[in-house]
């Protein structure tokens, strides 16, 4: 099992969710986050006072999937979240040791 964590532009969330649903992903966890990468921040100006805003708002998705879905999931996120401009985000993939469905107590792949 794999845990896919994707940082994307907030306005791309709906497109990514639709693309994932279309390939059979059952659940996603979404968090509003802030951060910076190569895009860096931006400058704001209020009555002559300049503030450099280092952290930009992004959305983080977490998706737990069986290993055989990994390639299509990565492809779906990439295609849906890409604008081609700096700041499109990143995808991280991790091994997932265990999953438990709290309601039934099922574990492992059955709980995905």
């Amino acid at each position: 099992m794999k845990l896919v964590s994707a940082i994307i532009k907030p306005f791309k969330l709906d497109e990514v969710r639709e693309a994932l649903s279309a390939i059979g992903v059952q659940g996603i966890t979404v968090t509003e986050v802030k951060g910076f990468g190569r895009q860096k921040g931006h400058t704001e100006l209020y009555r002559g006072a300049e503030y450099v805003v280092d952290f930009l708002p992004k959305v983080k998705l977490e998706i737990a999937i069986p290993e055989d879905l990994l390639e299509v999931v990565l492809e779906a996120i990439e295609n849906a979240a890409r604008t081609g401009k700096i700041g499109d985000g990143k995808i991280f993939v991790m091994d997932l040791e265990q999953v438990v469905r709290i309601r039934t107590g099922e574990t492992g792949a059955d709980a995905l």
Partner: protein, 436 residues
């Protein structure tokens, strides 16, 4: 009667006019038939409009500009000042400002509003000589709303760091020691500035220069906010600020057109002049910022509108449309410089630009009133030197007395919250509440 009283009011300064010799400036008991329904209806409305400028107008204008942790404390200051000045004005403020005394301060004839009456069965009521066609109750209320907004304007200068208790004590003393005497000098029949030909139609000197200078002194005495210049202090919600600025703009028709104390041609002129100057100033600030910094900002255009409203205030009853355009354009650019260049050059932390907008705009407006006043409209001859004298004396008096009051309050209760509390935010520390 009506005309005579009117000139005494506007005249702010025509000592020689027979009007002033007529009454000694004391309110009198008259027949209800002398009251004009039209004038009274308009002044009831204008009074409500001016109160609306402070709550919620100014409260929101300022509240949007502070950081999220201080928004409630900022709103609270304007609201509490509204309640506080209502009581003070009733107990003694109105009497000291608007009843006869000497050229420097009024008397005690209206303490607790003693003698201000409406007698239904006799069909009699009192009127004030500055407004002979409306009940004294309405005149007193109209003036009260000006006494409320002036200290509320000062709070922008020391936002995000002053103790609430110290703020209440300071405002109580300041209102009686600075606002009330200056209002008497400029507006009361026999006030010494009025006698020297200083023109201030709706309160450019009394309200805006006074509040701006007091704000500057407060910013200097309290010192900068913790982290000023190093940490981000961006406004937390400019939507609130734009709503507040819009309420100020609309409410200002009560302030300026209401200062005609009648529903007449002069009120109409004042309303038109106010709108023209405000539009011009909003554009002037916006373009100045656009040229200097590359973007036309929402905070910029809103600030420019307020700067124009401030600057046209002393001139609203004296200038024509061309004068209004000029005053608007000049004040928009000069106040942009006041809130950006001047402030950063001198390094004080006038947090929300009480001085940069109200002080600078008030001075520009007071001086330009002397330049652009048209005798055919105001019925009076304006003088730049008289205007400059009014500005200089008000600034000096206000600065000195404000400084002394602040030092006294600092010695007794302390002006600022300590650093840790300031970092945590005044909402939680002072009021035990927060927005989210």
């Amino acid at each position: 009667m009506k005309t005579i009283n009117r000139s005494a009011w506007l005249g702010a300064g025509l000592a020689a006019m027979p009007a002033l010799a007529l009454a000694d400036g004391a309110p009198t008991l008259v027949d209800a038939s002398t009251i004009s329904a039209g004038d009274t209806a308009w002044m009831l409305t204008a009074t409500a409009l001016v109160l609306f400028m402070t709550i919620p107008g100014l409260a929101l204008f300022y509240g949007g500009m502070v950081r999220r942790k201080n928004v409630l404390s900022t709103l609270m200051q304007s609201f509490a000042i509204c309640a506080l000045i209502t009581v003070l004005w009733t107990v003694v403020g109105y009497s000291l400002a608007f009843t006869p005394g000497n050229p420097f301060i009024g008397g005690f004839d209206r303490v607790l509003l003693d003698g201000l009456v409406y007698l239904k069965d006799d069909a009699k009521l009192t009127t004030h000589p500055l407004a002979g066609t409306i009940p004294e109750s309405v005149f007193m209320m109209f003036q009260m709303t000006f006494a409320i907004i002036t200290p509320a304007l000062i709070t922008g200068a020391f936002a995000e760091r002053m103790k609430f208790s110290a703020m209440l004590v300071f405002m109580t003393v300041w209102s009686l020691a600075v606002y009330v005497p200056v209002a008497h000098w400029v507006w009361a029949p026999g006030g010494w500035m009025a006698d020297h030909g200083v023109l201030d139609f709706a309160g450019g000197t009394v309200v805006h220069i006074n509040a701006g200078v007091a704000g500057l002194v407060a910013a200097l005495v309290l010192g900068k906010r913790v982290g000023y210049g190093r940490e981000a202090m961006a406004p937390h919600n400019l939507v609130l600020t734009l709503i507040g600025a819009s309420m100020l703009w609309v409410g200002w028709f009560g302030f300026n057109a209401g200062s005609a104390v009648a529903a007449d041609g002069r009120a109409g002129m004042a309303m038109m002049i106010t709108q023209i100057a405000t539009g011009a100033a909003a554009l002037a600030w916006m373009f100045a910022e656009w040229i200097a910094k590359g973007k036309p900002s929402v905070l910029g255009i809103a600030s420019g509108a307020v700067a124009g409203l401030v600057a046209i205030t002393p001139a609203a009853g004296f200038v024509d449309a061309k004068g209004a355009l000029a005053i608007g354009l000049i004040s928009g650019v000069v106040c942009y410089w006041g809130a950006t260049g001047l402030k950063h050059m001198l390094g004080y932390d006038d947090s929300l630009d009480a001085f940069g907008v109200h002080g600078v705009g008030g001075i520009v407006g007071a001086l330009l009133t002397g330049v652009f006043a048209v005798k055919a409209i105001g019925g009076v001859e304006a003088s730049l030197s008289a205007q400059a004298l009014g500005v200089a004396i008000t600034m000096a008096y206000c600065a000195v007395v404000t400084f002394v009051i602040l030092k006294l309050v600092d010695a007794v209760i302390g002006l600022r919250v300590d650093e840790e509390k300031e970092r945590e935010g005044l909402d939680l520390v002072l009021h035990g509440e927060r927005v989210e």
